[in-house]
């Protein structure tokens, strides 16, 4: 893993949230892999597997102009066995989510093949790290 790979991975993760924030379906479509089986688990949804189901969900979500704004923070990027993994927090008006975003490299760029977002405590502002000690809840 080189720093460049990780920077490109973080850039792809940022591009995902930019497409989300700007309701840019064309950018969202281009970000997702078209060679691998993609999967997406929106909060409270059943798992979606396959490009048609995943893109249909984004079309619905991005078409909703009243959708709340989303921002991400604390991205932690690691490359493992050819897969780029970014774990980050997502801030919405209703609360905090934690997301796992997975990418594979198509020879040219990192392409997303999995997204799962689920409810989480807010990040602790004092921490620079996304891995505070576990808390029993």
């Amino acid at each position: 893993m080189t720093a460049d790979d990780t920077n490109a991975l973080l850039f792809a993760n940022e591009a995902f949230y930019m497409a989300f924030q700007t309701h840019d379906m064309r950018a969202m479509d281009a970000l997702w892999s078209d060679t691998q089986t993609v999967s997406c688990i929106h909060p409270g949804w059943p798992p979606l597997i396959g490009r048609d189901a995943v893109m249909e969900s984004w079309l619905m979500l991005l078409a909703n102009q009243a959708a709340p704004n989303i921002t991400f923070s604390h991205p932690a990027a690691t490359i493992i066995a050819g897969t780029g993994r970014v774990i980050c927090y997502e801030a919405l008006p209703e609360g905090t989510l934690v997301a796992t975003n997975l990418f594979h490299h198509d020879g040219n760029q990192w392409r997303m093949f999995h997204h799962q977002a689920s409810p989480s405590p807010a990040p602790e502002e004092a921490d620079d790290d996304v891995s505070p000690p576990p808390r029993l809840q």
Copy 2:
């Protein structure tokens, strides 16, 4: 990807739930990668990154003999860019979760490097598939 690879991946996923069900910390420890940066997102917890934090969480969860029983169903396994991905439902007395379990192959076996479980609708019994049409909620 061969059928054997996928079967071994499903076997590793089953071994994870067996360790969970039987509170077998030694088996759980052996399942998780000791060469890659592991991550784990339990429902409602902040993300845990690194082997120490992840194993400490399993030690706490498995030490609780009163913990509810967990079963999994509808596993969907795919191998992408060297990563084995299994998405499945988890049934607990309190409700249904959906989990993403990621593995890398260490040359001998599939080793887990990521687990995220989050609240989900129950699977539709009529479906053999984990990918029903998306529902807005």
